[in-house]
């Protein structure tokens, strides 16, 4: 099966070509079926590959062909199949398949139906290339491909101004991150003479500390762009202008985890590069708490989920930073399930309400949408990290690793963030599903989504409920640990902490989740204290949060304006100096031509006379040389 690993991206690519070429004219609604079927086949192959890796294939490289060969430098289009990439392949294909099925219902009435599935298939293809690549350059191809598809799908409804502005913002911010990736890639090549993962990781010791740190920080800068961390996070909340399945697939489950995967994949480099892991962990922790505080006060249901995603990605980087890549990948996988479920549930609500996203107009919907409600409740509790749901096991693994490895400050930040997380998810679910309907017109027309949408919700709900226990129990020695251990072998995670410590830590994080839920319950159900009163009392702090710390304004004022001024100066230089030079040369030619045009009389005799005159001059000069009037 591993030898056929290239089938996994081949199916979505085929679906992309078929839907893209034939969709608009002939296939129409069949594009969705074809794309879903193709991704389903990919998922089947991915399961096969996963089982074979499970059966003891530690790592295999499947080369398709040589892409670049210059002297000793080779870049192959090759798949690197090891436990890490096989887990990623599995998560990406399975979650994609469910979201594809769901999209058939969600996008049903959209006139861009075929276009949607074309781009979505291309996205899955690019994401699989990113995950499978065996070198940094091929990974970069997938990296850019997912960025492109993200741009196309955020701007899917380009008739309205907000989506295309958001798409542009996402693309530009990702490009800024890509600059970091490029620097890292080039430095890797200069230092190691290769971009292949296995080559580079085997020769880590030949690099100096300074070089390694440069490489790691550059790669991490790229990861902050793709995975929406500080300082490049602000495109992700705006990306919610895209269709909800896009938010679920690209901006929650798969693409945004690309940065986490990049750092996890490059773990041997980061391990060797002294301070860079501390940077990763700190940025992750700060982003986690920063985004969680913004999520507290948002009213758009998708924005809450977006900030929550930024925050959870922060957790993953925190895990990488404290030297627990297994926990990071574990959280990546569980987050893919429960956050995709939260987004799809939000989409189901939005679909049922005919496009309304403001939670202040919802309320009481649990009676109208029971399936959506129950699945979202499971996902919400998983996000709040209550046992035995998936989020508990992975988040607890992260926090336990932070504590055991001695990063107490990061651990404390994580616990506080867990309280905030539980609070905002309680708030969001309550405002949506409980209480009295706040907008009766919307409520009366609300309806449960069709089966094609609710079945994926149920499947994801089951995954969210059982995934954590199945792969994460017992902590530190569960399936995921033993499975991924060979990838990160030789990295300080050797000693297993005592059971008592683990249980205590788990109790603390569960307590954090429960505190958050209780505070949320008290505020939004019992109105003690009343949320409106709290926001009035908090005053400036509340305004700071509602305005997202004014980060967008800050970027506009400080960076966008500065660039605009600089580019205005360049434009002026172009117009006045470059164009001016060309125009002046043309003017000179025109004037000198005008001065000489009088010589062209049009009379043949004049020309003949000029020729003879010239001949005489030449003869006279030659003759005077010959007889010695002029010295030679």
């Amino acid at each position: 099966m591993i030898q056929n690993v290239w089938l996994i991206p081949a199916f979505p690519l085929a679906a992309f070509l078929i839907d893209g070429l034939l969709g608009r004219r002939w296939l129409h609604k069949w594009t969705g079926v074809i794309a879903s079927f193709a991704v389903g086949l990919s998922a089947v192959v991915a399961i096969g590959v996963f089982l074979e890796v499970l059966g003891g294939q530690e790592h295999t490289t499947v080369t398709l062909y040589q892409w670049i060969g210059v002297g000793d430098f080779h870049i192959n289009v090759a798949a690197f199949v090891d436990p890490l990439s096989s887990v990623m392949l599995l998560v990406v294909t399975v979650v994609s398949f469910l979201i594809f099925v769901y999209s058939n219902g969600y996008m049903e009435h959209d006139h861009g139906f075929h276009r949607f599935f074309t781009w979505l298939s291309l996205f899955v293809f690019a994401m699989l290339i990113l995950v499978m690549a065996d070198n940094y350059l091929l990974m970069f191809v997938g990296w850019e491909g997912v960025g492109l598809c993200s741009y196309l799908l955020i701007g899917f409804w380009f008739e309205r101004p907000e989506p295309y502005v958001a798409a542009k913002k996402a693309f530009v911010m990702n490009r800024i991150g890509d600059w970091g990736y490029t620097i890292g890639m080039i430095t890797t090549f200069l230092v190691f003479g290769s971009m292949q993962f296995t080559d580079v990781f085997e020769h880590v010791t030949i690099a100096t500390q300074a070089n390694l740190t440069l490489i790691c920080l550059a790669f991490f800068f790229g990861a902050t762009g793709k995975s929406a961390q500080l300082p490049l996070y602000s495109w992700l909340p705006d990306a919610m202008e895209g269709p909800t399945p896009v938010s679920a697939l690209i901006h929650a489950a798969t693409m945004v985890t690309g940065g986490v995967y990049l750092v996890a994949r490059s773990m041997p480099l980061f391990e060797a590069a002294g301070p860079s892991l501390a940077v990763v962990g700190t940025v992750g922790a700060v982003t986690a708490i920063f985004a969680a505080t913004i999520a507290l006060v948002q009213f758009d249901i998708k924005r809450v989920m977006a900030y929550s995603t930024v925050s959870q990605l922060g957790y993953m980087f925190l895990a990488l930073g404290v030297g627990a890549p297994v926990a990071a990948i574990f959280h990546l996988a569980t987050h893919a399930f429960f956050k995709a479920l939260l987004f799809l549930g939000s989409g189901s609500v939005i679909h049922g309400l005919g496009g309304e996203q403001d939670m202040r107009k919802m309320g009481g919907l649990r009676r109208k949408m029971p399936v959506t409600f129950w699945t979202m409740l499971i996902a919400g509790l998983a996000l709040a990290a209550l046992p035995p749901l998936a989020g508990f096991w992975s988040k607890d693994a992260i926090l336990a690793s932070a504590f055991v490895n001695g990063h107490l400050v990061l651990w404390a930040v994580g616990i506080v963030t867990a309280v905030l997380t539980a609070f905002y998810v309680t708030r969001a679910l309550w405002m949506t599903f409980y209480g009295e309907p706040r907008d009766h017109h919307l409520y009366d027309h609300a309806h449960e989504s069709p089966a094609v949408m609710t079945l994926p919700l149920i499947a994801l709900g089951v995954g969210t409920a059982v995934l954590g226990v199945v792969v994460g129990f017992p902590p530190e020695q569960g399936f995921i640990d033993t499975f991924l251990h060979p990838v990160f072998a030789g990295e300080g995670a050797g000693h297993v902490p005592e059971i008592a410590t683990l249980v205590t830590l788990a109790a603390v994080s569960v307590a954090a989740g429960i505190v958050g839920i209780l505070v949320g319950y008290s505020m939004y159900v019992r109105h003690r204290p009343d949320p409106a009163a709290v926001s009035r009392a908090a005053g400036p702090l509340y305004r700071l949060l509602v305005n997202k710390y004014f980060i967008d304004e800050l970027y506009d004022r400080r960076i966008v304006e500065a660039f605009r001024a600089a580019f205005g100066a360049m434009w002026a230089f172009d117009v006045h100096v470059i164009d001016g030079l060309a125009n002046r040369l043309g003017w000179l030619a025109a004037r000198s031509g005008g001065a000489l045009r009088g010589a062209q009389t049009g009379v043949v005799g004049n020309y003949a006379l000029t020729i003879v005159g010239g001949l005489l001059v030449i003869l006279a000069a030659y003759g005077s040389y010959a007889v010695g009037i002029f010295p030679r």
Partner: protein, 103 residues
Amino acid sequence: MAVPLGAFIAVSAVLFFIGTAGVLVRRNAVVILMSVELMLNATNLALVAFSRRYASIDERGSVFVVFIFVVAAAEVAVGLAIILSAYRNKPTVDVDEIRQLRG
């Protein structure tokens, strides 16, 4: 070597001068073309004469004559074609009346 080299050169110079004067003075395009032929043939005569005189050193001058024949033939063909189309455009072969190319 009955005829001295100087005689050939003198005839050649006279022919060349007559040709030049014809080109400059005459206004009929066909006659101008004939005068140009005269100049070319004056050159041919000089080349052949020198080639013959210095045959022991270098005889390549006479090869040039063949090239000049070819050029002259081409020149007549093109020249007559131009005169013909100019005539179709404006029924005259007087070069002083054809001056539309004035800048």
